[in-house]
Symmetry: C2
């Protein structure tokens, strides 16, 4: 009993991130999110997930009852990262800074988590039927909170008055696009792939246009850049 702690030394036994179950589930989910992002729920075969995760199909079934279970697990896990960038929109910051850093953070997410972003885009295209009522409410609530912050800024005269919901959607759309419609961006920019520099250009452009369009004319940032 007292020695149980010591046994941990024997074989790095139970190091949580090394456990077989954790490792294999992770492999399956990683393979699955990629496929779901490309082909959607209905378009993805369990066999493909098995191949991509380098496990026999029967082993995939050992860890997940059904394809739905994999999909639901992914939604649950990814929903947390979904709104991380929103935390930049805080009432105690100046809107100029807050919005700029939100845009930067969201674009960063688009670049480094493009797959997850596309997974959600696909689920939205599907109609969001896999989102539980609680998950929908979570999204709504988080959004409403931040919309209120924007609304307050407007009431304080720190932002021009526009519909805060649609303003928010515009921020979302402009940044999200670089993940979900990367193909279109690539065609427009005539690149085989989006580079880090492209995301910086995107950030600069979006920040300049959005801030220019929502800050009161009086206190626009210095109009020299590039």
């Amino acid at each position: 009993m007292v020695q149980r702690k010591t046994t941990a030394r024997r074989r790095a036994a139970k190091a949580p991130e090394e456990r077989i179950r954790a490792r294999n589930e992770a492999a399956i989910l990683r393979a699955a999110v990629n496929l779901f992002a490309r082909k959607g729920f209905d378009g993805t075969r369990i066999t493909e997930i098995a191949e991509a995760s380098k496990l026999p199909k029967a082993n995939v079934y050992y860890y997940f009852e059904t394809k739905e279970a994999i999909y639901a697990t992914l939604i649950e896990r990814l929903l947390s990262g979904w709104d991380t960038a929103l935390e930049h929109i805080r009432a105690d910051r100046e809107p100029q800074e807050a919005i700029a850093s939100y845009i930067a953070a969201k674009l960063d997410y688009s670049r480094q988590h493009a797959v997850e972003s596309r997974f959600f885009a696909n689920e939205m295209l599907r109609g969001g039927g896999f989102l539980s009522r609680a998950q929908r409410r979570h999204i709504q609530q988080v959004t409403r909170e931040r919309v209120e912050v924007v609304e307050n800024w407007m009431q304080q005269g720190k932002l021009r008055r526009v519909d805060p919901n649609h303003f928010f959607i515009m921020l979302w759309a402009a940044t999200q696009f670089y993940a979900d419609s990367a193909e279109v961006a690539m065609m427009t920019l005539e690149r085989p792939a989006l580079r880090r520099a492209d995301y910086i250009d995107a950030r600069d452009t979006i920040v300049e246009v959005i801030l220019g369009g929502c800050l009161p004319v009086a206190q626009q940032p210095d109009p020299n850049s590039e």
Copy 2:
């Protein structure tokens, strides 16, 4: 021979839009674009298309060799409508007006052709692998033309200098979003469905922010609206 014209009366024979082939192909394509938009290419079964178009599966095969043929036909047909709104971006117009009417037109497209828009979104998520080289070039060329117009406006001092490509992408993204991610918009606005009024609000917001952000500070439009 002379009477051939008269035979047309006999049974409205050959009225081009009434021909059986035209009618059935249209039914199949209409059903297919809906399904492809929701579930993507791999996720859509021919059987589903048959059911949705109220034709026996074998009849679907009578008109289209394969699923790919249906998909390819749709891409080809829809690609024309894809860039209609872009025609508002013309060198001989004032940027303020041109951009505003582009936004309005694109949002209108998002509202009235949401299905087609989602079909393309799905194809982009897939990586655009079904686009032919010629089709890719078409998209690139059309985009480049309009980007050049924007660039000229900037050189003439009619628009603030930002990256014209990314500026363009922003316009695209903000308007497209209301079709492809309508679910998200609905959650944000807390609506069961987007109404005409929502699209008007969206238009006002996007126009105001974008114009405010890209017109030279000197000549901003009157800041009273709503």
